[in-house]
Symmetry: D2
Subunit: 284 residues, 4 copies
Amino acid sequence: MKNTATLLITCPDTKGIVAAIANFLLEHNANILHADQHQDAENNLFLMRVEWDLAGFDLTAARFHEAFSPIAKKFNMQWQLKLSQQRTRVAVMVSQYDHCLADLLHRYKNGELDCEIPLIISNHRDTEGLAKFYGIDFHHIVVTKDNKTEAEATQFRLFDTYKIDLIVLARYMQILSSDFVARYPQRIINIHHSFLPAFIGARPYHRAFERGVKLIGATSHYVTEDLDEGPIIEQDIARVSHRDQVEDLIQKGRDLERVVLSRAVRWHIENRILLYANKTVIFD
Amino acid sequence: MKNTATLLITCPDTKGIVAAIANFLLEHNANILHADQHQDAENNLFLMRVEWDLAGFDLTAARFHEAFSPIAKKFNMQWQLKLSQQRTRVAVMVSQYDHCLADLLHRYKNGELDCEIPLIISNHRDTEGLAKFYGIDFHHIVVTKDNKTEAEATQFRLFDTYKIDLIVLARYMQILSSDFVARYPQRIINIHHSFLPAFIGARPYHRAFERGVKLIGATSHYVTEDLDEGPIIEQDIARVSHRDQVEDLIQKGRDLERVVLSRAVRWHIENRILLYANKTVIFD
Amino acid sequence: MKNTATLLITCPDTKGIVAAIANFLLEHNANILHADQHQDAENNLFLMRVEWDLAGFDLTAARFHEAFSPIAKKFNMQWQLKLSQQRTRVAVMVSQYDHCLADLLHRYKNGELDCEIPLIISNHRDTEGLAKFYGIDFHHIVVTKDNKTEAEATQFRLFDTYKIDLIVLARYMQILSSDFVARYPQRIINIHHSFLPAFIGARPYHRAFERGVKLIGATSHYVTEDLDEGPIIEQDIARVSHRDQVEDLIQKGRDLERVVLSRAVRWHIENRILLYANKTVIFD
Amino acid sequence: MKNTATLLITCPDTKGIVAAIANFLLEHNANILHADQHQDAENNLFLMRVEWDLAGFDLTAARFHEAFSPIAKKFNMQWQLKLSQQRTRVAVMVSQYDHCLADLLHRYKNGELDCEIPLIISNHRDTEGLAKFYGIDFHHIVVTKDNKTEAEATQFRLFDTYKIDLIVLARYMQILSSDFVARYPQRIINIHHSFLPAFIGARPYHRAFERGVKLIGATSHYVTEDLDEGPIIEQDIARVSHRDQVEDLIQKGRDLERVVLSRAVRWHIENRILLYANKTVIFD
């Protein structure tokens, strides 16, 4: 089983950052497996992802913090360390359409998604059987105009109980409150069934059909206060023609949604995503 | 050299249309090369394109009208007949960016675009050499806020003089007046450098960069009264990443613009496009 | 529920075919929903697909044969009629990799595949749970060098018992005998995990990795006597880079295989595929 | 004008390489603009590209060699340094099809290809006008079975005279001798009009048509001894259908060839390509 550490760093760009990090890792006998960095000239930002084998590395996670702090301070870094053996704990929220959920669960079981999925929450009962088949706890929480606050409170308790790190909205057709969004910054991933920023809001396939576009799309993004305005993680498109009715767009779109959401989830749990300026850097 | 006729038909859908057309063509000894039809159930519309060899066909273009009229009347058809030997006469309007123009001219010379391009109009002199190289008349017409009406009047005279059927805006950075647009309905094709309806208006690559999209696009469309709202003919996209700056988006976008515009022009001159409900049917 | 008939026709190209068919359908009061035709000039072939609503049509399927025979004879047609209410009965054969099977079953349940899937056959037990979840009979038939003939005989009996029309090899890792293939002409669909004709045979992802290709592919095709040489139904590709190891190619490939196989199955059961000259015409 | 240095490095993977390079660059006051590295676990190889601003850097190119040698020796590196102001000198060889040449020249003039193109060699006269339009020397060298050695000797002399660094075969339909290939290792780029390794050799579009593939491709690669077996730099594909005849494949293929060849040339002149094990690493 893989036993690596991944460090994600953002800081103002200046000379000597790479040398400082490389020397630190060498000093502690790290065997670097992957390193990727990005300079954003316009924002004068340095962004880096480095992953190393923990075999031979002479610092525990606990001691890493202390040892790395002087460097982090010197370069004014924001950083996070992630250990491959501390698997991200994911909750999936879903309504009636189950194609994204079924896809995520299959990838999870196959080992393609190296995380834990202990919890599924739905405002419908349609996906209960699927949850059971994969041995995942299913909680049915009806959401209405009147009970939204309570319903979310119940959801928060479940996230706490299951020690959830990441919430995936796999075609969950309820709008989250500001409170919900603020509570899990950069920890909620949504799939929107259009090529954002085209067709923000409801019924994107219907509006794409009416506009007569020749391509349809899907977009996975982090959820922020503004609906469909969060940082985009991944997008993809499919070709359509005049022969396609709305139903065909919806069907072709399902294939996009599955792939585009699953990539976002995988990149998140592999610590490949850095956020800045409402954009994502995906370290591949 | 190809010697065919193409008939484009739109009418309310009802029984017997195909039989009526097929019988008519058989009666006059047409050898059908391609036929394609589309039913739009929602709008109860029948749309058809049929192309036949003129060898052996016993009607001239002049007599076709009279002979076909009873059928057209019976089914309440809108129709147009096009002969491959009456090549569409195209004017290209362009500003400073010459990549779409250069591409169109190369395809024209290669025989990929089976039309005549006798006229290039520009509000700059940058592309004059290119026009000369391909032996095409070049007219430099400066457009300002104050002279717009006169400038367009000059353009109209040129279109008349050169008997222009189709106007292609190959990155022409001036907004046409309503009068101009109304004068050439479904006869002006524009290339917009975004995936419409995303980034309508100015500086789409800059806005795509700011939004952090993972794909950029280009859209060719007929020009109508509402800017960037006309019927879409073709779209395509390219993948971008955090490594791409605005300049990279612009460069990748040029490859899209070339291809997306040239396809629209080709389909138009091959009579493959039927318009309805602000959408296009592309008969391939 | 949809109640339509679909007619697929191949015959030598000559004048009057479309008129004859259109008149025949009109005579019997058919309401044509879709019609598409293709002329292959090189092979002088006419190919057509026409689908009509059975409401109001005045021939039963039984009487259709008799009524249409004179036309079929006159134009030397090969033809087949399919009724939407006689749903294709599909058997899926699978080994250990279950991603294509899981995908097909999910689409089946969703109504995206308008067929019956009463039978799954595997030489492993891995997918038994999945079959059970979807309520489909699962038969475990071990195949060895020594028992191949008997194993196939058992398979044939099952196909007969379940009245199977189409056999889908969803990553079934056994080579079928010539006898098997001959028994189900144009009724076996396979998914090959490469962009055929590149990497025919075993371990295509490993060979793609060694060759250093920048795109990987998947191909669905009808199975014929020659391994991986049958008529191609659909292909798609995904981009890879030097960062991708064989495992990454395999993972990216799974997404291709799922989509490419499911499209082939859908087109087959919707009677959209015509075969000729070892190629397919896909009427979309 | 850009004034940067790019260093490409390949060496056995071991601890401390990044630290050594980063320290070296920091010591000499380099402002790193881009750095990208790749570890090939299977081959135990470390590959890196690093680009820095020369403003403030305290070594001349001449002195760099001496200063960097100890590090290069210690880690057993193969390396090359390239200065942005020493622009690659490119010769294009072409036969009758001019679409790739026209595309390269347009990108060159636009500034998209940051190189010098002083020389075009052709075995036909068709592209002489194009060369003249862009102000590039054109040499017409007829190649026959009998004069091949002499013809190539003439070509070699021209490459020497024009101090050519890179030879681009832009649909040059003559097979180069082993001697030619050996003389310019990793300095000849070819465009092959298929998705290699499918359809190696002659007439790939015709064979793709016969095989009935649903996608066609193009591949740019370095030329090595074995025809069409050299390291692949870039590939792309386009969708085709039963409606496409060989001529349509050829036309759609031209768009692929243009883009796929131009990317390879750009990446080469920007020093983004590292070769190993008959594969390329493209640092983007």
